[in-house]
C-alpha cells in the first residue's frame, strides 16, 4: 500500500515534469511519423526481395518503428538522473523513508506512458496508410514493447548513476544504440542480411522482442518466436529493474 502510494507519487512527479516540457511530446510523436513518411517510400522500392514481400512493407516496418520508439522512450532516463544527482534531489529522496524501487518505478512508468501514447497514435496513422494489424496481437505487442521501454529506462538510470557524467552516458548510449537497433532488425529485417549478421543478431536481446513483435502484429500469437520474445524481454526487464534499484540504493555524487 505504502509502496503503491510512493510509486504513484513519483510517477505523478515525473509525468508533470514531462507535460511541462511540451517539446518532448512533440518530438516523441514527430520522429516516428517522420520515419513513416521518409523511410517507408525507400523500403517500398526495395520490396519484393527475399525477406520483404511486396505490398506488406508497412506490416514489417511498423513493428520496427514501434520497437525503436520503445527503445528511445526509455533511454533518456539517465540524463535526468545525472542532473538530479548533481542538484542533490536523489540524495534528498534517499534520506526519506521512500522505497528506492518506487523511486525508479516513477520514471519507468512515465517512460512507458511516453512510449505507449505516441505508439497508439502511430498505429492509428499507419492503419490509415494500409497497415494490417491483428488487434489481439497488437495489444500483446504493446505490452511486450512496454517491457522493453521499462528495461531501457531502468538501464539508462542505472548507467547514469554509475557513470555520473552526461558525456560518458551519451557516449555509451549512442555507442550501443546503432548495433542494438541494427542487429535487432528494427529498420530492415535481418533475414535480408548474410548469415553472419543473422548469427550476431541472436546475441542481441532486442532481436527477440522485434521478431516477436512482427509475429504478433501479423496475428501469429501462439508461436515459439513470441514465447521466446516475451521470455527474453521480461527476463531483461527484471534484471534491469533490479540493477536500477540497486543503483539508487548506492547513488552518490
Amino acid at each position: 500500500m505504502t509502496f503503491a502510494l510512493q510509486a504513484s507519487l513519483f510517477f505523478r512527479r515525473k509525468l508533470l515534469e514531462t507535460l511541462r516540457q511540451p517539446v518532448w511530446i512533440v518530438t516523441g510523436l514527430s520522429t516516428p511519423l517522420l520515419y513513416l513518411a521518409l523511410f517507408e517510400p525507400l523500403l517500398k522500392s526495395v520490396a519484393g526481395g527475399a525477406g520483404l514481400p511486396p505490398g506488406q512493407v508497412l506490416d514489417v516496418f511498423v513493428p520496427g518503428i514501434l520497437a525503436l520508439m520503445a527503445f528511445g522512450a526509455g533511454m533518456g532516463a539517465g540524463w535526468v538522473v545525472i542532473w538530479e544527482m548533481d542538484s542533490g534531489v536523489i540524495e534528498r529522496l534517499r534520506v526519506t523513508p521512500a522505497s528506492r524501487f518506487a523511486l525508479l518505478l516513477g520514471t519507468v512508468l512515465r517512460d512507458v506512458v511516453m512510449f505507449a501514447v505516441p505508439a497508439v497514435a502511430v498505429i492509428a496513422i499507419a492503419i490509415g496508410f494500409g497497415f494490417h494489424a491483428h488487434w489481439g496481437g497488437l495489444a500483446l505487442m504493446l505490452l511486450l514493447l512496454a517491457a522493453l521501454t521499462a528495461s531501457c529506462s531502468a538501464t539508462s538510470s542505472a548507467l547514469g548513476i554509475s557513470l555520473k557524467q552526461i558525456g560518458s552516458l551519451a557516449a555509451v548510449v549512442t555507442g550501443v544504440q546503432l548495433p542494438l537497433t541494427l542487429l535487432s532488425g528494427i529498420l530492415l529485417p535481418l533475414s535480408l542480411g548474410p548469415g553472419w549478421l543473422r548469427v550476431l543478431g541472436h546475441f542481441n536481446p532486442m532481436y527477440y522482442a522485434v521478431q516477436a513483435a512482427r509475429d504478433l502484429t501479423a496475428g501469429a500469437i501462439a508461436t515459439a518466436t513470441v514465447g521466446i520474445g516475451f521470455l527474453v524481454t521480461v527476463a531483461i526487464a527484471v534484471l534491469a529493474l533490479w540493477w536500477g534499484t540497486r543503483s539508487y540504493h548506492k547513488a552518490m555524487v
Partner: protein
C-alpha cells in the same frame, strides 16, 4: 530501550571509520569519530574542506555505510535500522535537493507524503512552512526560478516538513549573502526552541561560534576538540592585547622584555611597531600594562584587545590556521609557517 524520562542522545557514535579508494589507494576520510550530541541543542561540526565532515554526515543520515564503528541517531541504529533513522531525521544536503522543475509547494507536498503524512495534513504543514519561511509569494512558481536564498529556505522547509527529531544540515549557509545567512541562523534557533536537535557542518568560524551550543572541531577525519564555543576558547588560549607605544622601534625589545615579566602576561612578541601580548585576562592585564607605560612616561598611539577565536583553537591543535587549511589542503606545512596568533576577529566596542 531508552529510559523513560531521559531522552536518548540525538546522535551517538563510537569509532566511526570510512575509507574511499582514490586511484587504487585507500584514503581514510573518517578515522575513528566518537561523538555525543544531546537532544535539543545546535551542534556544530567545524573543520576545513576535506576534513571528513560531509562523510560523517552521510554516514549519520544513512546515505553511506561506515566501514567500522557504531552510530545511533534519534535512538535508532544507523546500520541495523536505517528506515527508523530516516523516519526520524531531516536532511538538508550541500547540493540542496530542491526539485527544480516542480514548484515549491509541489516539492513540499511530495516530501510530506513520502514521510507518510496524509494529504490534508501535508497541505496544512506545507502552508504553515511557506508562511514561516517566507516562501508564500512564489510557492507556486517552479523552484528553478528561485534566488539562492529562496531556494535554501525551500530546502530547509523540505528538511523539516515531517517535524524530524534531528535535522542535519551540510554547510547550510555556503553561498548565501550576509542577510540570508542571518535569517537562516534565526530560523535554526527558532527550530531549536521548538525542540529539534540541529546538527550542522560548517567551515565558517563565526557560524560555529555564534550558532552552536556545542561543537566539535574535525581535521583529517578526527575530532581534535569538543566543547562549548566559549569553553574551547578559554581552554585553549587567552586574550590578546596589541599595543603600539610612541617609541622608536629600536627600544621596543627592552619594553617587550619588561612587559613579559608582568604576572598577567603569558607571552610577548614584537611585530613591526607594535607589541602583541598573550594574556590570561585582558581587562586586568590592560590596566597593568597602561600603568607600566604611564609610569615611564611612554605614550600610546594605539591599543586594542581581542578575545580568542576558534581559529586559535584549531591552530593550537593542528599548527595550521583554519582559514589556510581549506585552501592549503595537501600542503599543510606551508600554512603553519606563516602568521601565528591571528586573532582580532572580534574586537569589542
Amino acid at each position: 530501550m531508552p529510559v523513560i524520562g531521559s531522552p536518548p542522545d540525538a546522535v551517538r557514535t563510537s569509532g566511526l571509520r570510512k575509507a574511499f579508494r582514490v586511484k587504487n589507494r585507500a584514503v581514510e576520510a573518517v578515522s575513528g569519530i566518537d561523538l555525543t550530541v544531546a537532544a535539543g541543542q545546535i551542534f556544530g561540526f567545524l573543520g576545513p574542506n576535506g576534513a571528513g565532515k560531509t562523510t560523517t554526515l552521510r554516514i549519520l543520515t544513512t546515505l553511506l555505510p561506515a566501514d567500522a564503528g557504531e552510530a545511533f541517531v534519534a535512538g535508532a541504529d544507523v546500520r541495523r535500522s536505517p528506515l527508523q533513522v530516516r523516519r526520524r531525521i531531516g536532511y538538508v544536503g550541500q547540493l540542496g535537493g530542491a526539485d527544480a522543475p516542480a514548484t515549491g509547494r509541489e516539492n513540499l507536498l511530495l516530501q510530506g507524503r513520502l514521510y507518510g503524512l496524509g494529504a490534508a495534513e501535508t497541505a496544512r504543514r506545507a502552508a504553515e512552512l511557506t508562511e514561516a519561511l517566507d516562501l508564500g509569494a512564489f510557492a507556486d512558481r517552479p523552484a528553478r526560478s528561485y534566488s539562492g536564498g529562496q531556494r535554501r529556505r525551500l530546502e530547509v522547509a523540505l528538511g523539516i516538513m515531517h517535524r524530524p527529531r534531528v535535522l542535519f544540515l551540510d554547510e547550510p549557509t555556503t553561498g548565501l549573502d550576509p542577510q540570508n545567512r542571518a535569517n537562516l541562523w534565526d530560523q535554526l534557533r527558532e527550530l531549536r526552541r521548538t525542540g529539534t536537535t540541529i546538527f550542522l557542518t560548517t567551515h565558517y568560524l563565526d557560524e560555529a561560534d555564534q550558532l552552536s551550543d556545542r561543537l566539535a572541531i574535525i581535521d583529517h577525519g578526527r575530532v581534535i576538540a569538543e566543547g562549548t564555543p566559549a569553553g574551547l576558547k578559554r581552554r585553549y588560549s587567552g586574550d590578546t592585547i596589541d599595543i603600539t607605544p610612541s617609541l622608536p622601534s629600536a627600544s621596543l625589545p627592552s619594553l617587550e622584555h619588561d612587559l613579559a615579566s608582568d604576572p598577567f602576561v603569558r607571552a610577548a612578541r614584537t611585530s613591526g611597531d607594535s607589541i602583541r601580548l598573550s594574556v590570561t585576562d585582558a581587562t586586568q592585564a590592560m590596566a597593568a600594562v597602561f600603568s607600566l607605560l604611564a609610569g615611564r612616561g611612554i605614550g600610546i598611539r594605539a591599543a586594542s584587545f581581542a578575545q580568542p577565536s576558534l581559529d586559535d583553537v584549531f591552530l593550537r591543535e593542528t599548527g595550521r590556521s583554519l582559514r589556510d587549511a581549506g585552501a592549503a589542503a595537501g600542503h599543510d606545512a606551508a600554512a603553519s609557517t606563516g602568521e601565528n596568533a591571528s586573532t582580532g576577529e572580534k574586537v569589542p566596542a
